[in-house]
């Protein structure tokens, strides 16, 4: 393991003050399930961070709150806490589903939603679910607060627009309404302890049996995570049906190819993301997988 100093902070202010001076040479550690693997990979002759900043003791960055309209999740909340939260299970169930698929029990006990977002893996499980919830993220620094839609922070794989002096402090999204149905599906090489090969999050909002709003966000599919509007449009004003869901799935495939071109993985991803999307839509409305 390369050498580095370890600084633990107990308050957000201490953390932000530290980062305002040392942000560029500092890596923040929370759950450590991504960072420790990354640090281990740094060769002895490569430059690593001077300091690892442990923010796990910081109060006020954990917890899930519901004010009746908006749900706010502290960035240090673990996936275990999210998957078992009564608030999330009732008003954002697909996020509980997504977080329950991350790694295994040992990871979910310490890994955080903030880390999953900022690590920026295209295969991150919580991100498509959060994007389908129209989530916003809050960054803080000594200069103040910055709020972005989650889908807008990604520059490229493993890179968000977080600045060296910033910390992601919370994530927030509107509650899903009563007439919403949602689902998350993950495809991995194993049923547990697996990285997403692809995944997809869907939200459908109904009125009198017809879909009036649709949100589809696939993971490991597009250059940066986003909603697939051409596929969503197909569903509007229609009643759920096998055929309709397959059309939407095909549209996700087409958009993937339009954005990323045909690559070595396309012969596999093209039919599979279409099938996963259709499957997720069926799961959301209870049609059976």
């Amino acid at each position: 393991m390369i050498p580095f100093n370890l600084v633990r902070v107990e308050s957000l202010k201490e953390a932000l003050d530290f980062l305002s001076l040392n942000g560029k040479d500092t890596k923040i550690i929370a759950g450590g399930t991504d960072l420790m693997v990354e640090l281990r990979d740094i060769a002895p002759n490569e430059k690593g961070p001077d300091t690892v900043l442990d923010i796990t003791p910081v109060k006020g960055l954990k917890g899930i709150e519901d004010n009746g309209e908006t749900i706010t999740i502290g960035a240090l909340t673990t996936h275990h806490e999210i998957k078992t939260s009564p608030i999330i299970l009732q008003f954002a169930r697909l996020l509980a589903e997504a977080c329950s698929t991350i790694g295994a029990t040992q990871h979910r006990n310490i890994a955080t939603i903030g880390g999953n977002i900022i690590n920026g893996s295209p295969a991150a499980d919580s991100v498509p679910a959060l994007i389908a919830l129209n989530a916003e993220v809050v960054f803080q620094s000594t200069a103040g607060k910055r709020i972005s839609f989650l889908k807008d922070i990604y520059i490229k794989p493993y890179r968000t627009d977080i600045q060296p002096n910033e910390i992601l402090t919370s994530i927030r999204f509107p509650r899903l309404p009563e007439n919403a149905r949602s689902a998350y599906i993950k495809l991995g090489r194993r049923n547990a302890l697996a990285i997403s090969r692809m995944n997809v999050a869907v939200v459908l909002i109904f009125q009198e049996g017809k879909i009036i709003e649709a949100r589809i966000s696939p993971g490991s599919t597009t250059p940066t995570p986003d909603r697939i509007t051409p596929a969503e449009k197909i569903l509007i004003d229609r009643e759920p049906s096998e055929k309709l869901f397959q059309e939407a799935g095909a549209a996700v495939s087409e958009e993937m190819i339009r954005l990323s071109g045909r690559r070595w993985s396309t012969p596999y991803k093209e039919p599979v993301i279409a099938a996963l999307t259709a499957r997720a839509l069926r799961k959301a409305v209870g049609m059976g997988l």
Binding site: M1, I2, P3, F4, N5, L6, R8, I29, G31, G32, T33, M36, V37, L39, R40, V52, D54, T56, P57, H80, G103, A104, T105, Q106, H107, N109, I110, N191, A192, L193
Partner: protein, 159 residues
């Protein structure tokens, strides 16, 4: 590197240690405290052989910096083994053929122990989820699940 002063409780014993800041928890346990029951199978959190309990929750000790455990409690396999003999899970693992090479066993037992501590009457699905982070290349897992179920049922029968 600036040495880090760590206050940590391991298996009920309090320690104050001067450590390197980049020391992993697994290395603190194995190399410095000589608790070699915890095994390193992969070093990247993908096998669970290094599982220990951090404040009662199963974690991969290869992914935790020792310094992050300031003021906290660690339980290793040694910590749940009675002075003379074996605990119920250990006995059941042996009785049900759930130990072959034994390398996954300490981590596997701790994951099962953490489950039973939080949920004394788990379903088979819950048992499978609890051990889903512990890979076993030898047994095929059925004997392990049966051993855990035997302990759960044994405890229920005593009530």
């Amino acid at each position: 590197m600036k040495k880090f002063i760590l206050h940590i409780t391991v298996n009920g014993d309090s320690h104050v240690l001067r450590i390197d800041p980049n020391l992993r928890l697994i290395d603190l346990l194995r190399d410095q405290l000589r608790l070699t029951g915890t095994k390193e199978g992969c070093g990247i959190g993908e096998c669970g052989a290094c599982t220990v309990l951090l404040d009662g929750q199963a974690v991969n000790s290869c992914l935790v910096l020792a310094g992050q455990c300031e003021g906290r409690e660690i339980t290793t396999i040694e910590g749940i083994t009675p002075e003379n003999g074996l605990n119920p899970l250990q006995k059941a693992f042996i009785e049900h053929g759930a130990v072959q090479c034994g390398f996954c066993t300490p981590g596997m037992i701790l994951s099962a122990q953490a489950l039973i501590d939080h949920n004394p009457d788990p379903t088979e699905a819950e048992i499978r989820t609890a051990i889903s982070g512990n890979l076993c290349r030898c047994t095929g897992y059925m004997q392990i699940i049966e051993a855990v179920q035997a302990v759960v049922n044994g405890a229920k029968n005593k009530l």
